[in-house]
């Protein structure tokens, strides 16, 4: 595999560093909204109309949702010319699990979106990242109309390890979504430093 940087003509850019962050969570939890609210480019959305037949999702609590993401959303945040962050919204349904392994390969970490109306929807994502040892934070997507439960109660309900950050935010707000990303990257850095210290 080539590993040298391209400088044959000196006019083209060098190869940047690209980091992957996954946005996971149950169906309708706000993954597409979050990727769209913080990224530079329009997410690669392939949405399919829900037909209500053959293994369709249970949409109770999210009746307004008519389409579901069938491939992945992705967005880019350019930190510097040499450093780019890619956000991938993981496909929300069980039949797309096969994509997760590829997405999580080498990923920096994951954000698990939780919807308090259907908290159990994020269990599979949490199980998945815990098993793979992928660092993750839980972000509770708070819509205006809902009552808030407090992040401690949610951490308890999800039976999380005590060091896993839980934050409440509004996925539609770019700044709030950005703060969740910062929370994740800082958490990954803390874990890395701890691991280095215990070596």
């Amino acid at each position: 595999m080539d590993s040298v940087r391209s400088d044959r003509d000196g006019t083209r850019s060098r190869i940047p560093v690209a980091l992957k962050i996954l946005i996971a969570g149950g169906f309708g939890a706000g993954k597409t909204t979050m990727v769209g609210s913080v990224s530079e480019i329009r997410p690669l959305q392939t949405e399919e109309v829900l037909t209500g037949v053959e293994g369709a999702d249970d949409t109770s609590g999210v009746e307004g949702k008519r389409t579901t993401t069938v491939t992945m959303d992705f967005g880019r945040i350019t930190i510097t010319d040499d450093l780019q962050l890619y956000l991938f919204g993981t496909p929300g349904q069980d039949r797309f699990w096969f994509l997760w392994d590829e997405l999580s390969q080498g990923a920096l970490g994951a954000i698990v979106l939780a919807d308090t109306r259907r908290l159990a929807d994020c269990f599979p994502s949490i199980d998945y990242f815990e098993q793979r040892g992928t660092p993750f934070v839980v972000a509770v997507n708070c819509f205006d109309t809902e009552r808030r439960f407090g992040s401690e109660a949610i951490a308890r309900a999800l039976d999380l390890d005590p060091d896993v950050p839980v934050v409440e935010f509004d996925a539609r707000e770019p700044l709030a979504a950005r703060n969740v990303l910062i929370e994740l990257v800082e958490y990954v850095a803390r874990r890395q430093l701890l691991a280095a210290g215990s070596r």
Binding site: S6, R14, L19, K20, Y86, G106
Partner: protein, 128 residues
């Protein structure tokens, strides 16, 4: 949704209908690239600005070479060219065999992320 007047509207076909050509028709039915799997964020760089016409190259091959003059990750190519990721991978395998592109994989997955890089990411995000 605004209608492009240059494109004749059809009652029977619109954007929602999806691609007219089935994706893997472009790859002669091949679903896996020759050689290894490519990471989603592996960067592609064309070794020349334009590939010479050749019977083995399809328009999509040429489009990739044209789009990858600047280092471009695979996902961006798929998005820009409106091709499925799997199709892009197969075409990239062809192009690499033909020496028309170089691929730069991200560092190995097992390697921990550099804390300095993480700090740079946090600072960059704060500045947004």
């Amino acid at each position: 949704m605004p209608v492009d007047p240059l494109r004749a509207p059809h009652d029977w076909l619109d954007h929602d209908a999806g691609p007219v050509v089935r994706p893997y028709a472009m790859t002669q039915g091949r679903v896996a690239p020759s050689g290894c799997e490519f990471d989603l964020v592996a960067f592609v760089v064309a070794t020349m600005a334009n590939a010479a016409p050749s019977p083995s190259l399809q328009p999509e091959h040429h489009a990739i070479v044209g789009a990858a003059w600047e280092p471009t990750p695979i996902v961006e190519l798929a998005s820009k060219l409106d091709l499925s990721l799997g199709v892009v991978r197969v075409l990239l395998g062809d192009l690499r065999s033909a020496g028309l592109i170089s691929l730069y994989e991200p560092p190995a997955a097992s390697q921990p992320h550099d804390v300095d890089v993480l700090k740079a990411v946090v600072n960059g995000l704060r500045a947004l």
